[in-house]
Amino acid sequence: MKRIFILGDAALVEEYASLCLNKNLLVSGRMNSDRSLPSKTIRGFSKSTKPSKAMDIALELTNISPESKKKNLIELASKLGSRTPILTSSVTVTLGEQSTWVKSPQRLVGVGALPSLLRGSLVELTTTRQTDQKHLESAKSFVEKLGKQHSMVGDSVGMVMPRILCALANEAFFALKENVASGREIDTAMKLGTNYPYGPVEWAQTIGIQQVHAVMHALFDAFGEERYRPAPLLRQYASSGVSALQWL
């Protein structure tokens, strides 16, 4: 497993591509034209890069726009070799739903991709009943090549860490809007009061406000529960593309 094709949200493509390059894998791919543009261009990536049969594994890392995700996945499924596994982010759309978009759902393995989470040493994976065991094994060995452990979790919107993390950030944005304390104070309080590694406001900024909003929006949609309603401030900043630096 050497040639990796990556498609998706800019921040995630950048994070995964950098790590792949570090591990001496050959990466190429394309970024969605979302607002969170990468800070640097990566070799092998351009607007017109297309997947080919020569790839050993492909990654679809779109969380923000389900439409882009669907288009990307359909393109990958038709252009890649029929035996190439596709590791697809299943944070805002379940793997089960994605499986209905393509003719070869057996090659899909879900991954919990959210910007900043590759700082950690574990990657979440999920499957459906249709997932072929050998494709899952390929996905696991790819994760191992990245130097990470994996954890198999159920196919549920937000998976585990993105759901907990985005819900924390969402609550911080409710508190921020209600003037309970400033963003900086909320971050200080959570780091010193509960030993969190980062404050929820600064963490949301690292993840990307649009990403956090997309996860909350997907949870709200999937569960139909008021508890996942995106905080108005989060929605406002996500739609205006404002940098979180402004309220810190």
Partner: protein
């Protein structure tokens, strides 16, 4: 100028606050209605200070001085000589109301009355005092000598002067403070709710097991402890009570709704480390 701090309640929080204040150089009058509680608080403080000396965190003479600055008093009227009061009694509004009402005729008029509440409204606690403008929240975290944070809570009627005195005192006690509005759970106990709430829902929905969720949160998220380990450490009953309190004070806002798993574990008496059984077993 604050020289003497009166601490009401000598439980875990009260004795920890007394130790923190005395180590920072303040005289402390530590009050409790129970002589036994006062005595065991003094023993605990003595032991904690000894451990700090062993670890080289304070000098031996410094520890002896700190201990000598704490004056255990069973008589409530002794609070009259304090320049600043920190109430750390149980989290019960009636009991706190009674204490603040009793403080009125005892303390001097400019003395700030701080309450170390974690989940009650500071504005509500202030209602029965003669001087609601001098009541402020001063939320220490457990254990107070080790945890750097103090949430300083501005009640609806808290004066700027009382707030300033309290934040200055927090600094003098070696703490980092954040000022927050008097809203349910303040910052930490509110913003932390989804950490437990979502973990419990993920468990309830069968997305992952207790062990896997904790492993993911630590290895992928970089948290020092997973939500279930942390609930076991805090006490599932305490965590459930805080969740319920925030939920009720927000008029049943669904984001704070407790989870049936929590209630069931409380009913079963599996409260975490303290009962040797919670989400994990502790033989």
């Amino acid at each position: 100028m604050i020289k003497t701090i009166g601490v009401i309640g000598a439980g875990t929080m009260g004795s920890g606050i007394a130790q923190t204040a005395s180590t920072a150089g303040f005289e402390v009058i530590l009050h409790d209605i129970s002589a036994d509680v006062l005595q065991s608080a003094m023993e605990n403080i003595k032991q904690n200070l000894r451990m700090m000396v062993e670890k080289g965190k304070v000098g031996s003479a410094q520890a002896t001085d700190a201990l000598s600055r704490i004056h255990p008093r069973k008589n409530f009227t002794d609070m009259g000589s304090a320049d600043f009061i920190i109430e750390a009694a149980v989290e019960n509004l009636d009991i706190k109301h009674a204490i603040f009402k009793k403080l009125g005729p005892i303390v001097r008029s400019h003395v700030v009355l701080a309450t170390n509440t974690s989940s009650l409204s500071v504005t509500s606690i202030a209602t029965l005092t003669r001087t609601p403008e001098s009541v402020v929240g001063m939320h220490f975290f457990n254990p107070p000598p080790l945890m750097k944070l103090v949430e300083v809570v501005r009640g609806k009627q808290t004066s700027d002067a009382a707030l300033k005195t309290t934040t200055d005192l927090a600094v003098a006690m070696g703490k980092t403070h954040v000022v927050c509005r008097d809203t349910p759970g303040f910052v930490v106990n509110r913003v932390a709710r989804p950490f437990y709430g979502e973990a419990l829902r993920l468990l309830g929905e069968g997305v992952a097991s207790v062990e896997e969720i904790d492993r993911i949160v630590k290895l992928e998220g970089g948290f020092k402890m997973g939500p279930f380990e942390l609930m076991d450490l805090i006490g599932i009953d305490i965590n459930y009570a805080v969740t319920k309190s925030v939920y009720e004070q927000f008029f049943h806002e669904p984001r704070f709704r407790p989870h049936p798993i929590q209630r069931q574990m409380v009913e079963a008496g599996t409260l975490g480390r303290k009962t040797k059984k919670g989400f994990y077993a502790y033989p």
